[in-house]
């Protein structure tokens, strides 16, 4: 870099994404706190480790193949073109390590590739990776207290390093086939993260089954309360905090879109992932207003239940996210409020109707609210261009509905259902019943229980002695 303005732009972009990654790390901290708080004492450590260990497993697999899939599969392949060359994203690429941007050593790379990717590849990769963790973590909450860790980690890799990355290639990239053909628009990932993860979780839950005692013999659901509601709510607060990082990570902070718009001059702007204009200011308005809409409706509809009020605040943001680059703040608030109603009502309807035990309401808050958000954007942004390319389809309700179905069912529910079915058939999906009864922390619990038994007996003897004296 021998030009100061170019250097400032590149290093600002590099630093910008780095900060988003740090902020998004809080989403995972929040998910861990939330899940541990929602589980019963006998399952706390298993719940914690199940979610923690998805970090390294999704990270290494996203390094091995996830990042390459994002670039290579944007045409399907086979829908709008073939497999795309992405030599900067293969795990053996010299650009997948520290690089100064000079001439490439490896064949297949050009000088333009090294100039473009040397300083931003790692931070882009990490920003996408943190989305991968989030997708897997959403599934993690739904399945607590009875899934085998080994099974969950295989499912986490499937959703985190493959399914969501494929949907991002298709519908969350400048030239994805869904953008080209359907005019799909999902700026802050209502569908590409939330609907897909919710759908995937639902597919897994059908095979996994409910926790022992969750449903009465007549199918009536019983409430299994969080062992620590305070931890649950602080966890959700942290997810809100990390969500700021998620939102800004969905943007390109500074890019010249003048030429793409047909202008003779430069026009520097922040854009969304489709390289169409928005601003950080606009999404700040809309994030807070949609959160507020979700919280206000959530409080009323759940009669002030803290767990649901917090969760439905999140549903509010998720429901407005598809179009939060363009909505008016009051539109975002109203759409967020609608998402809270959809998530809450759908959760209990599905639970009662099919005895689906979604321990933290993840399918509702992410899946149903995300699906709703994608569809609503089709009506609200009807006729808007989906891209700077004039020949790509415009945003329509039917394009968004098709997109929501692809996200929730095709890339979420079906892979989750099939993978969980295979694990179930192999006897690897759910812990044995006696382990579930003893608690998934049975290794640690056994010592505690043994000591507790001895203490109880000792206390009884001491009490008998006192009475005898």
């Amino acid at each position: 870099m021998d030009n100061q303005l170019e250097a400032l732009t590149i290093i600002f972009t590099e630093t910008y994404y780095w900060i988003t990654v740090v902020l998004m790390f809080l989403i995972h901290v929040g998910f861990c706190m939330y899940e541990v708080g929602a589980s019963r004492r006998k399952n706390m450590l298993h719940t914690l480790m199940k979610n923690t260990m998805l970090i390294p497993l999704v990270t290494v697999t996203f390094y091995f193949f996830g990042w390459w899939i994002y670039f290579a599969f944007q045409n399907g392949p086979g829908i709008s073109g073939g497999l795309i060359e992405a030599p900067w994203a293969t795990p053996w690429s010299e650009l997948m390590g520290a690089h100064m941007g000079g001439a490439p050593v490896q064949g297949g790379l050009s000088g333009a590739d090294t100039m473009a990717w040397a300083r931003v590849n790692g931070v882009f990769w990490a920003a996408f990776l943190l989305f991968s963790w989030t997708a897997a973590s959403i599934v993690s909450g739904a399945v607590i207290e009875r899934i085998r860790s080994g099974a969950f980690w295989i499912l986490a890799i499937l959703i985190g390093s493959f399914c969501w990355v494929l949907d991002a290639a298709w519908g969350w990239s400048e030239n994805g086939w869904m953008v080209q053909k359907l005019g799909y628009h999902d700026a802050y990932a209502s569908g590409v993260i939330h609907a897909i993860a919710g759908g995937f979780a639902l597919g897994v839950l059908i095979h996994l089954g409910a926790r022992i005692g969750k449903f009465a013999p007549d199918g009536t659901p019983r409430d299994i309360r969080p062992h620590n509601p305070w931890l649950v709510t602080v966890g959700l607060f942290l997810i809100y905090t990390g969500f700021w990082g998620f939102y800004v990570a969905c943007n390109i902070p500074i890019i010249d879109i003048g030429p793409a718009a047909g202008m003779d001059s430069s026009f520097f702007s922040t854009t969304n992932i489709y390289l169409t204009p928005t601003s950080t200011s606009a999404i700040t308005f809309n994030f807070l207003m949609s959160l507020s809409g979700g919280l206000m409706v959530g409080y009323l509809i759940s009669k002030g239940d803290p767990f649901w009020t917090y969760s439905l605040g999140l549903a509010g943001v998720i429901g407005a996210s598809a179009g939060n680059d363009l909505y008016h703040p009051i539109q975002a608030m109203l759409i967020g409020g609608g998402a809270a109603i959809v998530a809450y009502k759908m959760h209990y309807w599905v639970e009662r109707t099919w005895q689906i035990d979604d321990a933290v309401g993840a399918v509702a808050v992410h899946g149903y609210a995300g699906f709703y958000g994608v569809v609503v954007a089709g009506f609200m942004l009807w006729g808007y261009p989906s891209s700077m390319h004039a020949d790509y389809a415009a945003i329509t309700p039917w394009g968004q509905l098709a997109g929501a179905v692809i996200m929730f069912f095709v890339l979420g529910f079906i892979p989750g259902y099939i993978a969980a079915g295979i694990l179930k058939r192999l006897g690897r999906l759910r812990v044995p019943e006696h382990v579930e009864l003893a608690g998934l922390d049975f290794g640690e619990n056994a010592e505690t229980e043994r000591a507790a038994g001895e203490i109880l007996v000792a206390e009884r003897r001491a009490a008998e002695k006192l009475v005898g004296d």
């Binding site: 021998d2 295989i154 049975f442 043994r450």
Partner: protein
């Protein structure tokens, strides 16, 4: 001998990869994939063994009886 960069007193625009042992990338990726797969195998084996070792005695009745017996011997 050098594993990579030998000097910073050069035209910095010419420098590409900074990491040592450039050219070993494919070997590194193969080793890392092997580590990843072996990890899953070891974890699955350990998980199955632990579950099998736990007796189906969720109420720990046997441990309570043993504790009672121990306490009786002491008194």
């Amino acid at each position: 001998m050098s594993t990579g960069i030998t000097t910073w007193n050069t035209n910095l625009l010419d420098i590409g990869p900074l990491y040592p042992f450039v050219g070993s990338e494919m070997l590194l990726v193969s080793a890392a994939i092997a580590v990843w797969l072996i990890w899953h195998f070891l974890q699955a084996r350990a998980e199955a063994r632990e579950a099998a070792e736990l007796k189906p005695d969720p109420l720990h009745a046997e441990e309570m009886l043993q504790a009672l017996e121990k306490e009786n011997q002491r008194t």
